[in-house]
């Protein structure tokens, strides 16, 4: 599978990122190189091999349902660029 500029545009849009034409050209090359590299894996026969989602041989990392103190409101809002009455304030978004 080869990537062209339209796919770079699409991925950039999904990631809400803007690039110059020059950068996009560079990404087309980089993306294709990455895909070629990963395509190497297709050479392996994975018939009868279970899908792996994690490289750690562990499962069920669970916690008990216990309430512990949350952060203070000041701490919560410490990194907020904009706030109002204890809320994070952002430019208006309506779905």
């Amino acid at each position: 599978m080869a990537v062209d500029k339209s796919q770079v545009d699409y991925v950039a849009k999904l990631a809400r990122l803007e690039f110059s034409e020059e950068e996009k050209e560079k990404f087309v090359g980089d993306f294709n190189k990455i895909l070629q590299f990963v395509e190497k894996l297709n050479e392996i026969d994975t018939e009868n091999v279970e899908i792996s989602i994690s490289s750690y041989p562990m499962f069920n990392a669970l916690r008990e349902d216990e309430v512990k103190p949350s952060l203070s409101l000041d701490e919560v809002l410490l990194n907020a660029p904009d706030k109002e009455n204890g809320y994070f304030r952002v430019p208006k978004v309506v779905d």
């Binding site: 999904l14 809400r16 989602i53 994690s54 750690y56 562990m58 499962f59 069920n60 990392a61 669970l62 916690r63 008990e64 349902d65 216990e66 309430v67 512990k68 949350s70 952060l71 409101l73 919560v76 809002l77 990194n79 109002e84 009455n85 204890g86 809320y87 994070f88 304030r89 952002v90 430019p91 208006k92 978004v93 309506v94 779905d95």
Partner: protein, 475 residues
């Protein structure tokens, strides 16, 4: 051409855990904004989510109650999208491997029992809340990370009424199992619908729209009715239905376009790298099965078989877990199940509906109701008086025996006293006596009514009937 609707529902229910799904912040509703937050549910870099075991337990319980297959090997997935109420810019949910699948619920339609398929139930985190104000939106992350199950049905419903019945039954099951408190006004139970129409008899699906923002059973039914009619009218005019998301506007009574599928999201799901596999064994599942309470359908069957209740009554009483508990408590105290059921179906539900209250809000107890019934059975008071005592009992929570005693409501069973009232009424209503003699039997009812009124409802009705006839014949 006749059309039929095809409806599928997606329901989100907040689980009854104390803490959030991936962190130990409380799930308590309605506190000051952003006071139930930590690095995990704020999505701060480096914070690691750890799954709450109770979330898995509740989801398994919901799955068992909805007759699902429980999938032993599952993992969480990352769903990518940008919206300010999702602090990580992704939601941790399940995608390829839902915890439960292939279940069903049975509903009672006019055509008999109908099975509605449950496609899947998966666990996921809730998002925060955005308030839109002027030029800005204000974000509260208290709800961020509250555990949810998403229940997806098959497109098995054919009318808004069926959709409503399914949703009501589902809510009842979730309440019975205590998986969720299902408070729709607090958003802990939410419903979206996918709906399309097609010519009756066709097996192909039409183009569907998704409807959001239906915050009550009534809204679900009304929104679907509106949307189905809109689609049918559009098709009749030769227009094409567009796949889109629409919002129910309660005030306008319309569904309004939110976004069309062309701008639909590409969520780029992938296995959540911050979490490990979830592996269930039979023991875990069986341990949860052991905690399963009697569900509405089983209870209903038992009420019909054991207590001889009519199916309709059994259905209504078992819809609410609390109402069923009240009924059973009264039966255990020693009341006649059918009489108790009649009272619940009549006076109790009438006053609860009138006052928009639940059985758990009332001041009187099951014991009071049984006492009231026994006052009628012993002949101390008439049924009519009992209804008045009931209202009093409802308002004050007083013992019905006390109310009867204090208000002097004891039934008059003294034959001489009743005969005296009867004769007085007959004297005052010569026209009715003449009517009776001319064969108008309706006059009897009028006289009986007047006698009851004169005795302030306290005269024994059977005796009044008998004595009115006797005295009329004498005249």
């Amino acid at each position: 051409m006749d059309f039929e609707a095809v409806i599928g529902l997606e329901i989100h229910a907040e689980l009854s855990t104390k803490s959030k799904i991936f962190c130990s912040c409380t799930t308590e509703f309605g506190k000051d904004a952003n006071t139930h937050c930590c690095p995990v549910c704020l999505g701060l870099p480096g914070a690691l989510p750890v799954l709450n075991k109770s979330v898995v337990d509740f989801a398994i319980k919901a799955g068992l109650a909805l007759n699902c297959k429980i999938n032993k090997d599952t993992y969480m997935a990352r769903k990518n999208y940008f919206y300010p109420d999702a602090p990580k810019n992704y939601q941790i949910t399940q995608h390829e491997t839902p915890l439960c699948s292939e279940g069903y619920i049975e509903i009672e339609t006019d055509e008999g029992v109908k099975r509605i398929g449950i496609q899947r139930i998966h666990i996921e985190e809730d998002a925060g809340k955005a308030l839109h104000e002027g030029e800005n939106s204000l974000i509260d992350f208290n709800r961020s990370g509250v555990p949810l199950i998403e229940i997806v049905t098959n497109p098995d419903m054919r009318s808004p009424k069926e959709a409503r019945m399914f949703f009501e039954k589902l809510r009842s099951i979730l309440l019975y199992t205590e998986v969720s408190d299902c408070k729709m006004q607090e958003g802990s139970l939410r419903c979206d619908a996918n709906v399309s129409v097609r010519p009756k008899g066709s097996t192909e699906f039409g183009v569907k729209t998704e409807i959001k923002n239906m915050n009550s059973f009534k809204a679900l039914e009304k929104a679907l009715e509106y949307e189905i009619e809109r689609q049918i009218n559009a098709i009749k005019k030769g227009e094409r239905i567009v796949q889109e998301t629409r919002r129910w506007d309660e005030a306008r009574g319309q569904t309004i376009v939110m976004r069309s599928k062309e701008e639909a999201h590409d969520y780029r799901y992938f296995p959540e790298p911050d979490m490990v596999y979830l592996k269930l064994d039979d023991e875990w599942i069986e341990d949860i099965r052991k905690t399963m309470p009697e569900l509405p359908d089983e209870k209903k069957k038992r009420y019909i078989e054991e207590f001889g209740l009519p199916e309709y009554d059994a259905n209504i009483i078992t819809t609410s877990k609390e109402l069923a508990a009240f009924f059973e408590e009264a039966v255990n105290i020693g009341g006649n199940p059918k009489t108790i059921s009649n009272w619940i179906m009549g006076e109790v539900l009438r006053i609860l509906n009138d006052r928009e209250m639940e059985i758990t809000d009332v001041k009187f107890t099951a014991k009071d109701l049984v006492k009231l019934i026994s006052l009628v059975e012993k002949g101390t008071i008439s049924n009519t008086i009992a209804k008045k005592v009931f209202v009093d009992m409802f308002e004050t929570g007083k013992d019905p025996e006390k109310i009867v005693e204090e208000k002097g409501l004891v039934q008059i069973t003294d034959e001489a006293a009743i005969r005296e009232i009867v004769n007085k009424v007959l004297d005052e209503n010569p026209q009715s006596v003449t009517d009776f003699k001319n064969g108008k039997t309706k006059a009897v009812g009028f006289i009986v009514g007047q006698v009851m009124k004169a005795s302030k409802g306290k005269a024994n009705p059977q005796m009044v009937n008998k004595l009115v006839e006797e005295e009329l014949l004498k005249r």
